[in-house]
Structure formats: structure tokens, C-alpha cells
């Protein structure tokens, strides 16, 4: 995330606070050019039957109100890489949008429960991701990627690949992630800000929806 974008987010928040606009539900835009993706909402998401699918859950703001992760990986690229990773292993990836929670563990667990293979992935706008399996406790997981600033395009591809491998019943080597002790001082405050922005697009009563994803560049 570059300085300009940070400024923009903060300025936007400040403006909303000043005008009290934040109290109203923000209007839903349906595409964001810089994200490189067009998301069209279809019907209510249902439980799949194909053992060859992995379900990917994103939040309502993903690719709409936010364009990229905390380190500027465009949201289109995030989905493209995850899908490519899943497809590399010969499986397919179905995308849903979860409205009732932005807790990435619960999102991924929900995706896993809808997935024909029992494997789901959850991704937040800032990039934080989880690979989940439907029979695990929600706060348990197969793989957790809590440090969003360290996730690049390659990492998202590996996440897709590993999710597909779990779906095939394999025990893959966990995705190697970097450990950067200085990510916290740099990004944690911003991550909290972004998460609170993301939460504003939730609708506790709305069920998860199936979505169609088109890449625009």
C-alpha cells in the first residue's frame, strides 16, 4: 500500500466521520477499475457436490471498495493467482462473497462447509488468508497466513495450490512464508484501520452469495 493510498483511506474516513456519513450503509459500487476485476453477484451460495472444487470466500468490500491488499497486490491478481494454483492441481475454484462475518477463520470455515471437497479458503481485503477444512473447529485451520504485508502474488498461488492438494487428500508441505518482525510496527495500525473499514460493508443478516469473477486486465 503506497503512501498516497494510505492518505486517501485516512482522508476518506475523516471526511465520513466529519459528515456523519459513516452511520449510513455505504452505497455498493460494483466494480473498481484498479482492482482489475469485475465481480457480479449471482444467487445465494449453496453447498457444492463436486469433490473437485475448492471454495474461496471474500468479503463484500473485496475488489469493490478496496482495490488491492495492504501491500498493493491488486484484488484481481489475488483471485487470479489462487484460481491458477487450484487449477494447476486439476481442480476448480468457486468464489463466494460472505456478508455476515469478516473474521477470516470463520469465513474460510464457512467456505469449507459449502465446498464439495470440504476445503475452503478465506481472504480479507488486506490479504490475510486461511485454508480451512470443514471438519476442523473454526479457530483451528490447515494453514493460516496472518501477516498480510508478507503475502505476494506467488504466495497466493501457493495457497491455491496447497488448498487443492488438501482437497485431493494429500499432505502438502505448508506454504513457506517469510517472517519479518518489523511488519508489525509498519503495518499493524493500518491493518486495524482497514479491518474496521472492511467491517462496515458487512450485513449480518445477508447470506453468502455466489459470484461471477471477470478479469478486466
Amino acid at each position: 500500500m503506497n503512501e498516497e493510498l494510505i492518505r486517501k483511506v485516512i482522508a476518506e474516513v475523516m471526511a465520513e466521520v466529519a459528515t456523519g456519513e459513516g452511520k449510513k450503509a455505504p452505497k455498493a459500487e460494483l466494480s473498481a477499475p484498479a482492482a482489475g476485476i469485475k465481480i457480479t453477484e449471482l444467487e445465494k451460495a449453496t453447498k457444492g457436490t463436486s469433490p473437485k472444487e475448492v471454495v474461496l470466500a471474500v468479503t463484500p468490500g473485496f475488489g469493490v471498495h478496496f482495490q488491492g491488499t495492504i501491500v498493493d497486490v491488486p484484488h484481481g491478481e489475488v483471485i487470479r493467482q489462487i484460481m491458477a494454483g487450484v487449477e494447476e492441481e486439476g481442480l476448480t475454484c468457486r468464489v463466494i462473497r460472505v456478508y455476515h462475518t469478516a473474521d477470516v477463520a470463520f469465513m474460510a470455515h464457512y467456505a469449507a462447509k459449502l465446498s464439495g471437497s470440504g476445503i475452503g479458503i478465506g481472504v480479507l481485503c488486506r490479504g490475510t488468508s486461511v485454508i480451512h477444512q470443514r471438519d476442523l473447529a473454526p479457530l483451528n485451520n490447515l494453514e493460516l497466513f496472518p501477516q498480510s504485508p508478507l503475502l505476494d502474488a506467488e504466495a497466493f498461488r501457493a495457497i491455491g495450490r496447497n488448498a487443492a492438494k488438501y482437497a485431493k487428500g494429500e499432505q502438502p508441505v505448508p506454504v513457506a512464508t517469510r517472517n519479518d518482525p518489523m511488519a508489525r510496527p509498519r503495518f499493524q495500525g493500518l491493518a486495524a484501520l482497514l479491518h474496521n473499514k472492511e467491517m462496515r460493508y458487512l450485513d449480518r443478516k445477508r447470506p453468502p452469495m455466489e459470484v461471477k469473477v471477470e478479469f478486466t486486465h
Binding site: 453447498k47 455476515h100 464457512y110 462447509k113 459449502l114
Partner: protein, 175 residues
């Protein structure tokens, strides 16, 4: 060699400083708890070892390396008893920590519950794990099987709170 000297020296210094402070200030208010023991009896291992035993009746002074090596003392003997927890509760009360005493008295009751069952009960008390009847049944088990009256009342109270705050099993939307 130098190392061992330093170690001993430091240990001795720390002890002197602290024992000195205690002596000079007379700080702990030695005020007997209702059950008998007070802050002045602390630490029990040094001041009241006569009151301490392992769960199979081994005396505190018998818990030595030689007895471990000979097999006279086993792992099972290194476990706290409900009596010791009650004494510590009295010490905590006398030192002005009734909250700690309350926790230690719950703990005294829980010494009677096997390790695995304790872990299961903890998990059953987590949100959205149990319905009200299951929690109440667990409270009955605590009271009847383990004579754990305080814990039983605590679980019954949790059942009411969980019901009011929608934290019981089934209160969560299912996929």
C-alpha cells in the same frame, strides 16, 4: 568455578535483601484467615511442611531425589491436594486477596476430576458448545460425582448467562 561462586553469591544476596526487607518492615499483616492459616505461614514449604503431603499420602520431606531414584516416590506423588489448596486459599485471604482464594477453592474441588474430564468440561463451557440441559447435567455431575459444589453453582450460573446472551449450542447460524 567462578560461575558457581557468582551464582551462590547472587542467590545469597537476593535472600538477604528480601529477608531483610521483610524483617525490617514486618510488612505482611499476619491476620489469620477464617480456616486458621495466615500470611505469616507463607511459604508453606518452608514454614509449614508438616501440613503438606502428596495425594497418596507421601510426606513433603519424603519428596526427595533419593526417593525418586529408589522408586519410593513416583510422578503421581508430585501433585497438589485439595487440603494444600485450601491452606493456600486461607493464606490468600489473609493477605487481602479473596478473589484468589475463591479460585483456589474451585481448584480444590477440581483436584478430584480426572485430567481428561477437566479438559472436556472446559471445552463444554466454551461458547456455542452445549445446550442448557447439557450444562445443567454437567453441573449435576460436578456436584454429585465430584462433590464440587462451588464449580456446580458456577456452571449453573453460566448456563443462565449463555441462555440470556444467546451463547448456547444452536444460537449460531449454521452453514
Amino acid at each position: 568455578m567462578a560461575m558457581e561462586l557468582n551464582e551462590q553469591m547472587v542467590a545469597e544476596l537476593v535472600r538477604q535483601v528480601l529477608k531483610g526487607v521483610n524483617g525490617a518492615q514486618g510488612a505482611p499483616q499476619v491476620q489469620k484467615g477464617q480456616g486458621g492459616l495466615g500470611a505469616g505461614d507463607f511459604p508453606l514449604a518452608a514454614k509449614r511442611p508438616d501440613l503438606l503431603t502428596g495425594p497418596r499420602g507421601k510426606k513433603f520431606e519424603e519428596l526427595t531425589l533419593d526417593n525418586v531414584m529408589s522408586g519410593a516416590v513416583a510422578f503421581e506423588d508430585f501433585r497438589i491436594t485439595p487440603q494444600a489448596l485450601e491452606y493456600q486459599a486461607q493464606v490468600a485471604e489473609s493477605a487481602g486477596s479473596p478473589h484468589v482464594a475463591r479460585n483456589l477453592r474451585r481448584a480444590a474441588e477440581m483436584t478430584r476430576i480426572p485430567d481428561e474430564r477437566v479438559l472436556e468440561m472446559y471445552n463444554a463451557l466454551r461458547p456455542h458448545r452445549s445446550d442448557k440441559a447439557e450444562l445443567l447435567a454437567m453441573a449435576d455431575e460436578l456436584e454429585k460425582k465430584y462433590e464440587a459444589k462451588i464449580c456446580a453453582a458456577f456452571v449453573r450460573e453460566a448456563a443462565d448467562v449463555y441462555e440470556r446472551r444467546h451463547l448456547l449450542k444452536g444460537d449460531l447460524p449454521e452453514a
